[in-house]
């Protein structure tokens, strides 16, 4: 028995640590631990609710915008503020932009190197690589010249040390791509790095900057006026149009084809990493307002036991549905540590009871994380692109059914393949394809509204706190790139009285609940084989498929806590 430590897995909410027990080459138990806390829920108390979007936006700079959106929706929900349709469209464009950018960056810069051997790409024949790439894509940079250029770049770079690519698992037998496909992926890694900074200019147009564009309770801060130089005018709209066209090309001619090409060499990964059998999606992209989830592009709902014949409705206001446990978390509840609380009644009393640093392992500690453990009707749920697609699929959404069906057909795998590490990674790409399509639709609708001069972007009826009730409570639901995100707010005398966030990584990365049920990360790791304990690429693949965003630092121990020796690969 060996306990493998993966630490850190950072980004979404700071630092994440995973410990896995391996017996006979297979993971038999896993522990997911959040090891950083900032106490934002405490910091929010007593502040102006209209400021909360800015504070909570700083929860995450990767999926920047989604917390701002959840916060605005929570406050608007509490105070009964309706959004002008144009403001809703602009928010949809902002959110879809975020999703598309985030999915591409995740695939190339955070996940690809788990599947793509950059060193092996040096052996590729650039001409052959161009032929292969041109066979499945019309992207104009798929030329022998471009691939030669990239290969030379990496060769020169490799001669002086590999910088960020140093000491990877290059040469591990789990890497199965031919050199040419590796080279294509490396070239597109660099192309994606160039492109990702372009699409977010849409955020700069409507929100002033990226990361962390500006939002506004009751609308969006920008104004549209075709006759004004300082407003959103035709030049600004044209820029957005151009950026959306570029995104459409990148997703459909680079990202999705690469994803399918890479996936076709890793079909065995349709067997592993499935984990939980329950999926939750809050739904996203309102077309008739936030209070009409039945008209969202992605529907709201839950699936239990992978039964795609039934979608359960989800009510975030029901005190018996979404609740958080702290049985394994470094907190205390007034009512005892085995109860669960609905977020409106949520408490954030931090109490660290873990080992004193520096420590080697969390083994033997009942509480082992700064993440609370959310449950829906006491069920652990997976959230994210896969959950979104499955809920839409099970709800009978024709567009999603067609897309998922044709992709499974292209790969020659059954529908069950979705319930896996491979399925999760593929679902993210399909999400991006849908979202770039909707981005074009939202933009066309925006142009229609501009044409008819219906361009109000802010509802100021309830801007003044004097118009607010003495007490109010609201909930803001958003589908973030990484899944279901919600903020619950209580307002009293014009100030925040309680504020609770339940974020995607809390659903997926949380520790066991009071009933010892695992959350997504832990469940997905159990049963995964690890071929080489020195280089646990399998753990990295499954953890990264959830998009917790980091190349992790892995420490290996034998049961006596002695470091195993490192094997170096030339």
């Amino acid at each position: 028995m060996t306990r493998i430590v993966v630490d850190p897995v950072t980004r979404i909410e700071g630092h994440l640590r995973v410990e896995a027990v391996v017996e006979n080459g297979v993971i038999t138990d896993a522990f997911s631990s959040g090891t950083m806390i900032r106490g934002l829920e405490k910091i929010l108390i007593g502040r102006d609710p209209r400021d909360a979007w800015a504070i909570t936006e700083r929860v995450c700079g990767v999926c920047t915008t989604v917390h701002a959106m959840a916060s605005c929706r929570a406050v608007e929900d509490a105070l009964g503020i309706s959004l002008p349709p144009t403001a809703e469209l602009i928010r949809n464009i902002m959110t879809a932009t975020q999703h598309v950018q985030d999915h591409v960056v995740h695939f190339y810069h955070l996940h690809a190197l788990d599947w793509v051997d950059i060193v092996n790409a040096l052996k590729a024949d650039p001409k052959k690589a161009a032929e292969i790439a041109q066979s499945f894509s019309s992207y104009d940079k798929n030329t022998a010249a471009h691939f030669t250029d990239v290969q030379n770049k990496i060769k020169q770079f490799a001669a002086t040390g590999l910088g960020i690519f140093a000491n990877g698992y290059w040469g591990h037998p789990a890497y199965k791509l031919p050199p040419e496909v590796n080279l294509i992926a490396v070239a597109h890694y660099l192309d994606a790095l160039e492109w990702q900074k372009e699409i977010v200019k849409i955020h700069a147009v409507f929100g002033g900057k990226n990361p962390h564009p500006n939002y506004l309770v009751g609308g969006v801060p920008c104004s549209i006026d075709l006759d004004e130089v300082a407003a959103i005018n035709t030049e600004r709209l044209n820029l957005v149009g151009k950026l959306i066209s570029q995104a459409d090309e990148f997703v459909n001619q680079v990202y999705v084809p690469d994803l399918l090409a890479v996936a076709s060499f890793y079909k065995d990964w349709a067997k592993w990493g499935g984990g939980l059998k329950n999926y939750l999606s809050y739904g996203e992209y309102p077309t008739q307002g936030y209070n009409k989830p039945e008209a969202f592009k992605y529907p709201r709902g839950a699936i239990l036991n992978r039964d795609l014949s039934h979608v359960y409705s989800v009510n975030p206001r029901d005190s018996q549905e979404i609740k958080e446990y702290i049985a394994s978390s470094w907190y205390t509840y007034e009512g005892g540590d085995n109860v669960s609380l609905h977020p409106w009644e949520g408490e954030t009393e931090i109490k660290y009871t873990g080992p004193q640093p520096p420590f080697e392992s969390l083994a033997g500690y009942e509480k082992y994380s700064f993440l609370k453990t959310p449950r829906w009707k006491d069920n652990p749920m997976e959230v994210g692109p896969l959950a979104r697609l499955l809920v839409a699929y099970a709800s009978g959404n024709a567009q999603v059914k067609e897309l998922v069906g044709s992709t499974l057909g292209k790969l020659g795998v059954p529908v069950d393949a979705l319930f896996s590490t491979l399925g999760r990674t593929a679902a993210r790409g399909l999400s991006a394809a849908l979202e770039v399509q909707w981005l074009k639709e939202f933009y066309a609708e925006l142009m229609e509204r501009v044409k008819t001069r219906e361009t109000s972007t802010f509802n100021n009826e309830k801007w003044d706190p004097k118009t607010w009730p003495k007490e109010a409570e609201g909930v803001g639901l958003v589908e973030a790139p990484r899944g279901a995100l919600a903020h619950w707010i209580k307002i009293k005398d014009g100030k925040i009285d309680n504020y609770q966030l339940v974020v995607p990584t809390t659903w997926n990365g949380s520790p066991r609940d009071a009933k010892k049920q695992h959350s997504s990360f832990e469940a997905a790791l159990i049963g995964t084989p690890v071929a080489n304990l020195e280089q646990p690429v399998e753990i990295i693949r499954t953890i990264h498929s959830f998009d917790p965003c980091l190349a992790c630092a892995v420490h290996l121990y034998d049961p006596q806590g002695k470091h195993l020796h490192q094997i170096s690969f030339e």
């Binding site: 995450c60 990877g168 801060p221 104004s223 004004e228 801007w463 990295i540």
Partner: protein, 362 residues
């Protein structure tokens, strides 16, 4: 073995002309006059790629995200050409103690020569348990990596002044980097800092091999030397007393001053109005939202975002102050108003003189 920037660019097929263009842009970014380009060229030709480690503590990764938004012609190549980024939890391929080894090797083999870039604040409460990486506290890791560093750059408001986790009541005692190390620290505040500003500071330190001139808060003067208010394209509206009264009103569409909406531009030192965001695409004020002052120390506690400033240095100059500042005490207001009237009279006189001169010449 390190390589000079020029050597590595030459090998990548860049022409000498492209290299000189790169140097010119780098010099411009670093605030050099054209005559200073020669200095940049020689720095690029002689210098080996400096070793850099990028640490993450209490943060949201917006600084890393901003960094990759940099739009310099070959910024995408910065990671391959300009610096040797040997440790970055966000981007590095390695896992496990292969990654740890990269960090330790860099520190050992480049004593006194490597640069530490820090993203995030460090929580010091309760022995530092609120941010741990690999079972060690952020506090102890910071001591370890900064001991033999040549210089430390504190990216963003978290590392420079604590930012959001340090807002009241600061539950974890989040502390900025300069308070924890005995080294020169360049503070690059902002939430996040502007991408091209980050890249320019990298150029200044790693390519020119010198610390930029810093103000008393450790911020590079070239980017933090002027108030947003003083470089704002809406400033004439402020001076003329033309203000947005409500979001998306007629004045908002005309691009009037956002002072009444709570703009913190008058008390914020940053380059947003000059450099702009996302390759100069826009800036918060240009998009109709007041500046929230994200590069200023303690900005989360400087009053609500949408409450306008009562007063600030130079307040009311050139403005019809009687129409602003309901929070300002009556006495102050009277003083400010008098000042403004006097200034406006003087300004009108100057304009009249110019007109008179024009007529004489024609």
């Amino acid at each position: 073995m390190g390589q000079s920037i020029w050597q590595s660019m030459e090998q990548k097929g860049y022409s000498r002309r492209q290299f000189l263009q790169f140097c010119t842009a780098a010099a411009a970014a670093a605030g050099f006059a054209k005559s200073g380009v020669a200095q940049v060229v020689s720095a690029f030709e002689k210098k080996e790629k400096p070793a850099v480690v990028w640490m993450h503590f209490q943060e949201c990764t917006c600084c890393s995200e901003s960094f990759i938004r940099a739009s310099h012609p070959i910024v995408a190549d910065a990671l391959l050409d300009v610096l040797s980024l040997n440790y970055s939890e966000t981007l590095m391929a390695a896992s496990g103690f292969q990654a740890e080894k990269s960090l330790q090797d860099t520190i050992k083999n480049n004593k006194g020569k490597y640069i530490v870039l820090v993203e995030g604040a460090v929580p010091t409460k309760d022995g530092g348990v609120y941010c741990m990486i690999g079972g060690k506290t952020a506090q102890s890791i910071l001591q370890d990596v900064s001991k033999d560093a040549a210089a430390i750059v504190a990216w963003g408001s978290c590392a420079s002044n604590g930012c959001v986790q340090a807002a009241k009541p600061n539950p974890t005692n989040a502390t900025p980097i300069h308070k924890l190390v005995n080294k020169p620290v360049i503070n690059v505040p902002g939430c996040p800092p502007i991408a091209d500003v980050m890249m320019a500071i990298v150029t200044h330190v790693l390519v020119l091999g010198q610390l930029p001139a810093l103000d008393n808060l450790g911020r590079p003067k070239e980017f933090y030397g002027r108030r947003v208010h003083d470089t704002c394209y809406r400033r004439p509206n402020y001076d003329a007393g033309l203000f947005v009264e409500s979001f998306d009103d007629e004045n908002a569409r005309k691009g009037y001053c956002l002072y009444k909406m709570g703009c913190k531009g008058p008390v914020t030192y940053n380059a947003c109005s000059v450099v702009g965001w996302n390759e100069g695409t826009s800036s918060p004020i240009r998009t109709g939202h007041p500046c929230i002052g994200c590069s200023e120390e303690g900005f989360w506690d400087n009053g609500p975002i949408y409450q306008h400033l009562a007063s600030f240095p130079g307040f009311g100059i050139e403005s019809t102050a009687d129409t602003v500042g309901t929070v300002v005490a009556a006495a102050t207001l009277a003083g400010v108003a008098t000042h403004a009237v006097v200034t406006n009279i003087r300004k009108k006189a100057v304009i009249a003189e110019v007109h008179a001169d024009d007529q004489k010449e024609s």
